[in-house]
């Protein structure tokens, strides 16, 4: 077993007043040690739910209906409570879009950093405080030792996300999942946080799953990319393949609808009609067929399976990637 993380045919269902709806419908992927995988998708694509299922952080309405999540060959979905607590934070950590949702607003920054160190690394109070100051300094918090006494609200959004990254990497995890970690940040601060995640995970050899709606962010960070739509992976490949030679009509349309930063611009942007299906709303056949310019009868009837890295009847006909 080479993979650090193995997700196999994962299905997550949401209980709603109108019945049970699948939000993730048979997602499989693996992440090697030290690898960086991007998951790209729009709202309702199931990208965040997939991450939450892997981290065992699903809300009460959601359940893993079937499938497996293995970390170094161990069955994450079967972890008893105390094993889960040891694993989460120490071996697998998570960074969220809004650091205020992971940082407790009523607890000083210092305690939030030392808590993790003491719990997982067994440090005493003094050693943890020293290490916490080092960590904050490493992620670029000026005057780090003094700022341990401050509350999260006194930090800017960018600084809070630096603290969240510091906590996430504090126990040298083997896997870091970052869910839209820079979406709420200004573009220059986004660049700083991405650089920081780059540096901290490269030093530790941490594998990263970066979840984002932004193909630009993902393509500057990741080795490999999964494109999700309607609860499924519709295309996967190396970053060069996905960005340079996308095969799924959805991936192509997504890339086409981002205005270029250089060169001539079209008068109208290529756009995809309609909107992405809401989580759980499921049509027979390919989820993208109702919006797809290439859709044929078959696409509306039979859901395509993943072949040569693409789940599309039309694209698969062309065979393997050239």
């Amino acid at each position: 077993m080479d993979a650090l993380l193995d997700v196999d045919d994962l299905v997550v269902r949401f209980a709603t007043p109108t019945g049970d709806h699948p939000a993730v419908r048979g997602v499989s992927f693996s992440v090697a040690a030290g690898e960086r995988l991007g998951i790209v998708g729009e709202s309702g694509s199931g990208k965040s739910v997939t991450a939450q299922a892997v981290m065992r952080l699903l809300g009460p309405a959601a359940t893993v209906a079937s499938g497996a999540v293995r970390f170094e060959g161990r069955d994450v979905l079967g972890f008893p409570r105390d094993e889960l607590r040891r694993w989460r934070g120490a071996q697998a950590a998570m960074v969220f879009q809004d650091p205020l949702s992971s940082l407790n607003p009523l607890v000083r920054i210092g305690r939030q950093v030392t808590e993790t160190l003491r719990e997982h690394l067994g440090m005493d109070r003094r050693a943890a405080a020293v290490r916490a100051a080092e960590l904050l300094a490493e992620v670029g918090i000026p005057d780090a030792a003094a700022r341990l006494r401050d509350y999260p609200m006194t930090f800017s959004g960018g600084m809070r996300q630096r603290v969240a990254v510091a906590i996430a990497v504090s126990c040298s995890p083997r896997l870091l999942i970052a869910d839209e970690p820079t979406t709420a940040l200004d573009v220059t601060v986004q660049a700083q946080v991405l650089d920081l995640m780059d540096r901290m995970t490269a030093e530790l050899g941490t594998a990263v799953i970066l979840i984002s709606h932004d193909l630009g962010v993902v393509s500057t960070f990741c080795d490999r990319v999964l494109v999700m739509y309607g609860g499924r992976v519709v295309e996967s490949g190396t970053t060069e393949e996905i960005v340079g030679a996308p095969r799924h009509p959805y991936t192509r349309a997504l890339l086409g609808s981002i205005p270029a930063m250089t060169g001539p611009l079209p008068r109208r942007l290529p756009s995809i009609p309609g909107s992405p299906p809401q989580a759980g709303a499921h049509v027979p056949g390919c989820s993208f067929a109702p919006r797809c310019p290439l859709a044929e009868d078959l696409c509306h009837e039979v859901e395509p399976s993943m072949e040569y890295g693409v789940a599309c009847h039309v694209a698969a006909r062309a065979g393997e990637r050239p």
Binding site: G158, T188, A191, D195, L215, T220, P259, M261, L269, P273
Partner: protein, 341 residues
């Protein structure tokens, strides 16, 4: 108000001169959120206003709509100075300028059907009751919504559809200019392109002007004819899209553009050109507000505030060190985008 009453002598639908907006904080601290901003928008033109959070870009729009009262300067909309407008006059003015916000879910009344929301704009404009149903259908059609949606509530619509409703409502009063404040930022990428195309189509049909506020620079490049870059309450650069994106002259603009992650651009080094975060507008640095973060800053930048001046390429930039426009004939705007170091 008919087109001729809008004032034929007026070339620009928006004229902003030396706009200042101040906020008072506790302990007598005054924050200069907008500190001497001037620009114009012509009919049928889109002026993009870009900058990071705290740059004052949304405050400019709020001042233009008289949601926030300026501390100084002059704003003319449709040829009319809007300072001191009250009551009926203020209402009349608001028909000239409308706003479309980031999250249509917040700006649409959740208990009001779509048709009634759009009809409200028609009532404001004084459209007789018997015509309104037809006009609502026309407006929904103009923004690409089926008229059947008129009987639905906002929560029954997708994010893109809700934003179309906001646009229909804004169009309902027949404005000369619409301020779009991060109007497509919350939308999915595939839906964002539809709304950007719609805004362009409406502009081509009716000569609408837009003040397009966004932090997303690739969207801005597509949407705007001219771009103004704000930093800490001031304009640091303003010019055509080709000028500002092709050959930015202000170091802040250059850093901002360099930080945009472009799909497929394989990175060869760190992304960061710019360390730190913008300083507080309550305590702005001396001289050029950008100098503490500027890689090029010299002594003069710490002491003397640079004014906007014509630079090489033809755009205006507020930087002591940006190369001046060559003397002689009027500088040609640069057509071919090129990367400047």
């Amino acid at each position: 108000m008919s087109a001729d009453q809008r004032g034929e002598r007026e070339v620009n639908v928006v004229e902003v001169e030396d706009l200042r907006v101040h906020f008072s904080r506790r302990r007598g601290v005054t924050v200069r959120a907008v500190d001497g901003v001037s620009f114009t928008v012509a009919p049928g033109e889109t002026l993009g206003l870009a900058g990071e959070s705290g740059s004052g870009k949304s405050t400019v729009a709020r001042a233009l709509l008289r949601i926030t009262d300026p501390a100084g300067g002059r704003i003319r909309i449709g040829g009319r100075d809007i300072a001191g407008l009250r009551g009926k006059n203020l209402k009349t003015f608001r028909r000239q300028m409308q706003m479309v916000y980031q999250d249509p879910y917040d700006s649409l009344d959740p208990r009001m059907k779509i048709g009634a929301t759009v009809e409200e704009a028609l009532i404001v404009r004084g459209v007789p009751a018997r015509e309104r149903a037809t006009r609502v259908r026309e407006l929904l059609d103009r923004v690409g919504l089926p008229s059947g949606l008129a009987v639905r509530y906002p929560h029954e619509l997708s994010g893109g559809q809700r934003q179309r409703v906001s646009i229909a409502r804004a169009l309902g009063v027949d404005p000369a200019v619409i301020a779009c404040d991060e109007a497509v930022s919350a939308l999915d990428v595939s839906v964002r392109a539809q709304i950007l195309n719609l805004l362009k189509d409406l502009q081509e049909d009716s000569g609408l002007a837009y003040l397009f506020i966004s932090h997303d620079l690739s969207t801005m490049r597509f949407a705007a004819d001219r771009i103004a870059i704000m930093y800490l309450g001031r304009l640091v650069e303003i010019g055509t899209g080709d000028q500002v994106f092709g050959a930015p002259r202000h170091p802040y603009t250059q850093a901002l553009l360099a930080a945009v992650p472009v799909p497929g651009a394989r990175r060869t080094g760190p992304r960061v050109r710019l360390a730190g975060e913008p300083p507080s507008p309550a305590d702005p640095p001396t001289g050029c507000a950008f100098h503490p973060r500027c890689p090029l800053a010299e002594e003069i930048c710490r002491t003397t505030r640079p004014e906007l001046a014509v630079k090489r390429g033809g755009q205006l930039a507020a930087c002591h060190l940006a190369p001046e426009a060559e003397p002689g004939p009027k500088p040609e705007p640069e057509r071919n985008p090129e990367v400047t170091p």
